[in-house]
Symmetry: C2
Subunit: 137 residues, 2 copies
């Protein structure tokens, strides 16, 4: 069965690029620079269900994408989370957090409603992320 | 400088065991089976600050410990998170979640107050986790 992105992830994000393992998505929420990495593997819900080779790729792609968030947005902290209580398809959130952001110091998940980017702003943020991620990818 | 566990982590947890990279802690909160993995590396705040070899070890220890939570507690989902907004020392939460648990389907972080285990119960849970983690370690 070919990989299919979960419809909730498809609805809430735009695609930025594809790394060897993961599709990289940008959450359409201008409150936080927020990437989601989705390993292109079917029916995987948990990190421990990935093969060891895929896990090794995942942690490297997490590190690469976190480094990109740091270089572009200078966050005080990058939050990394694989929750999946609502969307079962394995996906890893990478969120650039800043002291005083709308959810600080709590988690972003379950904190208020998304504030969509303007159209031009979304295109610009996506392009900046894609350029950096492609450069390292 | 030798590795020193952050005092907040030391206060809120008991040590379960030590894996090659991480100290494994049990959160003293009987609402959720909740492990914390702390790489024994000084002054590291972000996953991308670890060496590639340490990252490879980290993702394997995450997978091993998640598998232990699954075998012992049969959760509906394991939540994995490295936040660090409050405690800067890099640490990875692994939380066995069940449909209908006190924070479901939200994140556990920032959700209510910890409910400490009874003394005997804490010793028993810790011993079961240590036995499983040592077996695979």
């Amino acid at each position: 069965m070919p990989f299919t992105l979960h419809p909730t992830l498809a609805r809430d994000t735009v695609e930025v690029t594809r790394l060897p393992l993961c599709r990289v998505l940008l959450m359409n929420d201008r409150r936080f620079p927020w990437l989601i990495l989705v390993p292109e593997r079917d029916s995987v819900r948990e990190i421990h269900q990935l093969s060891p080779a895929d896990r090794a790729a995942l942690i490297e792609e997490i590190a690469q994408a976190s480094g990109v968030l740091e270089r572009l947005f200078h966050p005080d902290k990058v939050n990394v989370g694989a929750l999946g209580n609502i969307v079962p398809q394995l996906h890893v959130h990478l969120v650039a957090r800043a002291v005083g952001d709308p959810a600080w110091p709590g988690p972003v998940w379950g904190s208020g409603a998304a504030v969509p980017y303007g159209e031009d702003e979304l295109a610009e943020v996506r392009a900046r992320l894609a350029a950096e991620l492609t450069r390292i990818g």
